[in-house]
Structures are given as C-alpha cells and as structure tokens.
Amino acid sequence: MKAAFVIAYKELLDALRDRRTMLMVFTVTLFGMPFMMVVLSESANRYETQIEKKQIWVAGMDKAPVLQNYIERQGYQIKEAPADYESQLQTKLLIDPVLVIDADFQEKLAEGDRPTVTIVMDVANQDSQSGVAPLKRLMQGFGMELASLNLAMRGVSPDILNVVNVRERHLSRTADSGAQLKGALTMMLMLTMVSAGLYAAIDTSAGERERGSLEPLMMNPVSSWSFTIGKWMAVGTLTMLVVVFSVLSIFPASFLIRNETMRIMLQFSSTELFLLILVLLPLGLAVTAVQIAIAINGKSHKEAQARCTLLVVAAPLISMVSIFKQGADPVWFKWVPLLSQNMLMGKILNNEPVGSIDMLAPVLSCTLITALALWYVSGKMRKVLM
C-alpha cells in the first residue's frame, strides 16, 4: 500500500505541473459553474423584462380605435411598427412580435362579424417568441370584454360565458420552481466530473506508453495492483477536487446573478452542497477508474482521447434518459450510475427527503464498477507491454 501512495504522490505532482490538465481544471472549476448560472439568470431576466415592459408593436392601430382604447386601458404603450417589420424580425433588429390589424377591423366589428388580427413573429427569433403569450392574453381579454358587454346589453349575465369555474391549486413546494435551472446545474456537475480528470487519466496510462516510461516503470518490483490503485487515487483526487470546487463555486456565483427570483432559488444551504459532494464522490471515483481502463488500451494520447470522448458524450446522454420517463422515477434508476446521481441531486436541490437506500444503491453500483475497472487495468498494465 505504501507503494500505491508513492505512485499517487508522483502522479499528482506530475498532473499539477501539466499545463493541459491544469487548464482543464481551472477552466471548469473557476468559470464553468458561474458562467452557466449567469447565462441562465440573464435569459430569465430577459424573459421577465419582456413580460414586464408593457409595450407592444402594432401595424395599423388607426384601423381599430376600440382595440386601441382597450390596450391603453390595460396600461400598455402602443408603438407603431416599422413598415419593414418582417425583415427587421428576421434580422433580429426587432425583438418583440408585431400585432397586425386588418384594414376592415372596425367595419367588421360594427357588423358583428369577426375581424382578424395577426401576430407576426419569427420562429428563429427566440425573443419574439417569448412576447407572443402576453399578446395572446391581451387579445383574449379584449374578446372577453366585448362579449361580456354584448351579453349585458341583451340582459344576459356575462357569467354564462363561464360555464365551469376553473381554479388552479399548486402542490409543488416553493423550492420546486426553477426545476429547469436545477436540471442544468446537475447536468453541468456531471459534465465537469467526466471531463475534469480526463487528461490526467490519459496521461497516467496511454501517456506513459507514448513516452516509453511504462516499460521501465513495470520493471520495478511493485505489483500491478499498487500501480493501478496509486494512479487511480491520484486522478480520483484531482477529479473530486474539481467537483468540490465546482460545487463550492455555486456560493460566489450566486452574487453574479442579477435576477432576484433566481438568486432566491439558488440559495442552497451548506448541508445541501455537502450532500451533493457526497452523492458525486462514488461516481467520480468510478468515472476515473473507467477512464483509466479505457485509456490504457491507447498507444498514444490521441488514441486514448478518441476512446474517452465516447464517455464524455455518453455521460450527459445517460443522465438525459430521465427526460423520457413518464411519472415517478422507475426503481432501476437508482442502480444505474449517472441516472441515480441525477435523481438524487434533483431531490436534494428540491429539498425532498432522500432515503438511505436511495443513497446506498448508487454507492454499491459505483463500487462494483470501480472494482471491475481497476481489476481490468491491473491485468492490462503489464500485458500491454507483452
């Protein structure tokens, strides 16, 4: 075991002096999580401002004075749409949808006919899409008001329009909101984990073969298991350090969030963050072992990198399997690495109770994977030279 520690110390020292590994570590830990949180909060911010800004673009407002009166009463500011609004929407010079009123709007309305208004937007223009819903609500409100007035004039209660009283009662806890953001957060942590120690894992296996240092190393009277454990400990430590720093970077990153709602949603307690690290620890160690097992068959950095890329791509894809399920999570989810961690992190971030079986199952499956991968590496370590 002493030899394993000696190997781990040397591998860590080597990795810390490797510019490629450290660039990956620093980029991922220092910028990854804060960058993602800021981007998400900014997009939420933009969505909210769009809803709150109460300003609509209309083409042909003069054709519908009744509608103008309604819109203005709702506190909206009406802006005359430019003549080339279509091209401006396509080129994203105009970021809000445009309400186009038919020339015969007022006449049709007076005749009791149904006039037409058109909401123009560009599907490729994300911003114009988000403005459509408020515009639709505004037009529905206008329709309801006119219908109610017409019925009232004929002595009929406007309530006749509301045959069923629909009420909404939300069962979700307050912390449940922002599920999408939390989903992105867990996905980012997964990605961080599979990419953080990648270069170190490759350097410690295929890198040794490429520079011709594996052969002299294997001439030392040390068992293949000690070499395997030592190398795994070093890369595992590096991976877990990156994960710990990434999780901890959620604290300072929350100061960069301008959106108030988001900031409240992303205020996690230190217990929650500690639990996140605890959930990710067995997975990180298993991922490291698998990475070394894949890379040991590569004769060069390049070859090993190509093989390991499969893992980097597969990891987020596996965690996306949960998107396709309907209803509650199936029982087998908790036994599948990545899926189980995804599920657990979701529960922790949403303040849901986490059972001890939920925590233990992924630990067991990850331990099994780690043991299998390390057994494979120790068998291969000397065989690749024969």
Binding site: A3, R17, G212, L214, E215, M219, N220, P221, K383, M386
Partner: protein
C-alpha cells in the same frame, strides 16, 4: 548471475486486411543461451533485429518466453511477476522519463519504488550524478534535456537501487565520445570488487564497445546464439585478426 537456456519467442505481426485481420508469425528469438557471471561484463552482440532486445525484455520479466528458462541468481524469472526484478537494474529500449519531473525526482521515484527511503535515494542520486556527470542538470526538469542527458538520467534511474544484476540495452546510443568513455569507466568500476562485482549484460551492435569492454561476448544472429566466448576466443574461432570480420564470419557464415 544470469543464466539463459534455449530461449525462444514468437510474435504475430499484422500484415493486411481491413475486415479480416491477417497476421504472420515472426520468430524474434529462436534459441538463445548464455551465462552472465558476476564480476563480468557480458556483451550481447548482434545486428539490428537479431533478437537482442527481445531477449533482454524476457530476462527483465517483461515478456513471457515461449520456451526456455531464465534464472537470476538461481531464481527462475516469471514474466509479469516481481520476484527477480528487485535484483535487477534495467536500462531498456524504452527509456522514457517524466518530462515535468526533475532528473532527481525521476530517479528518486524509482528508488522509493524499490523500497529505499527518500534520504537513501537522494544520497544515491548525488553519487550517481557525480559519476555520470549529471550534477549540473540533476535538479532541472527533464523536458528539454539533450539525448545524452536523457540517457544518463535513465541509466542513473536503473542503477539507483544498487542492483546486483545490470542489464543495459544499447546504453551508448546518443552519448558523445567523452560521455561514452565515462560510461565505460563506470561499468568497469561496477565490475570490480570495489564496485560490488556486478553481473552486467550489455547489448550493442558496435564492435568497438565490445572489444574494449566485454569479458564475455555472445553473438546473436537471426534469433539464436551463433557463438560465444571472450574476444580472443572468438577471433581464434573465426580465424580472423579483426573483430568486425570475425563477427561477420560467425554471425553470417553464408555471407563471409
């Protein structure tokens, strides 16, 4: 002492075929036998591809022989097992260093893996750096080392644990004349009583090296021992006065 008896090893070499991989069998070593005594420098002399490196890799327990036996100090060598490796210092064909570690760190790492304490390993590094003229670069990172500096560091790394048996695969490759002479002197010292009467196996294809250094020469040709003995005995056997001519006559009788 290292005893090698009727050693053989085949390799499968891929030839062609995209869908179905085809291979051909190459007899890298067919029948190599020799005995390297303690306090002697045994030279393994052969042309490129004669089977010297494969033989040495089998002696170093890196490669499993298809047939034959190897004994190091009476203990049978088993590929992949470490029982005999503690008694051997091997400078193999692959002599990669860790470029981000200093020469000292590279050497101490191997010393500690051989069971030495860091202090012992550092003391040994100081001694080897003095002998191999590595003092000026010993605390510099290996990245950017010249060929000779890399070779000397790899050599020091192989000898850090003061092994009884030393195997050197073409150790003068990349060394200049001065460094080669220094290495020769160092090997002579290791062979002497003061140096610990080491058993040294030295593979090369350079005649001069063998003539000047080796007590016992094993000529390997096409994977088999073609002849062995001292330089004088080989000259007599080939009825030549020039060692190069003697080598050609003994290794390639059909060409001579």
């Amino acid at each position: 002492m290292i005893q090698v008896e009727n050693l053989s090893r085949q390799f499968r070499r891929p030839t062609s075929g995209f869908w179905k991989r085809q291979t051909e069998i190459v007899n890298a070593v067919r029948d190599v036998s020799f005995c390297a005594e303690d306090g002697q420098i045994t030279g393994l002399l052969g042309a490129n591809g004669a089977g010297k490196t494969t033989t040495l890799r089998m002696v170093a327990a890196l490669l499993k022989p298809d047939g034959g036996q190897i004994r190091v100090d009476g203990v049978e060598v088993q590929a992949g097992l470490q029982i005999t490796q503690a008694q051997m210092g091997v400078l193999s064909d692959a002599r990669g260093l860790y470029p981000r570690l200093t020469a000292r760190e590279n050497i101490v790492y191997y010393g500690v893996l051989h069971g030495m304490s860091r202090e012992q390993a550092n003391q040994r590094v100081d001694f080897l750096a003095e002998v191999l003229e590595l003092k000026t670069v010993i605390d510099r990172r290996c990245d950017g080392f010249s060929q000779g500096e890399k070779m000397k560091t790899a050599l020091a790394r192989a000898l850090v644990h003061d092994p009884r048996n030393i195997i050197l695969d073409e150790p003068t490759n990349g060394l200049d004349v001065v460094a080669t002479r220094a290495l020769r002197d160092f090997l002579r010292w290791l062979r002497s009583d003061a140096g610990g009467k080491k058993c040294i196996i030295f593979s090369t294809h350079i005649m001069q090296e063998v003539e000047r250094l080796c007590d016992h020469v094993v000529i390997v040709a096409q994977g088999a021992t073609a002849a062995q003995g001292s330089v004088q005995q080989l000259l007599l056997q080939a009825r030549e006065t020039d060692f190069e001519n003697a080598f050609v006559r003994l290794a390639f009788p059909e060409a001579a």
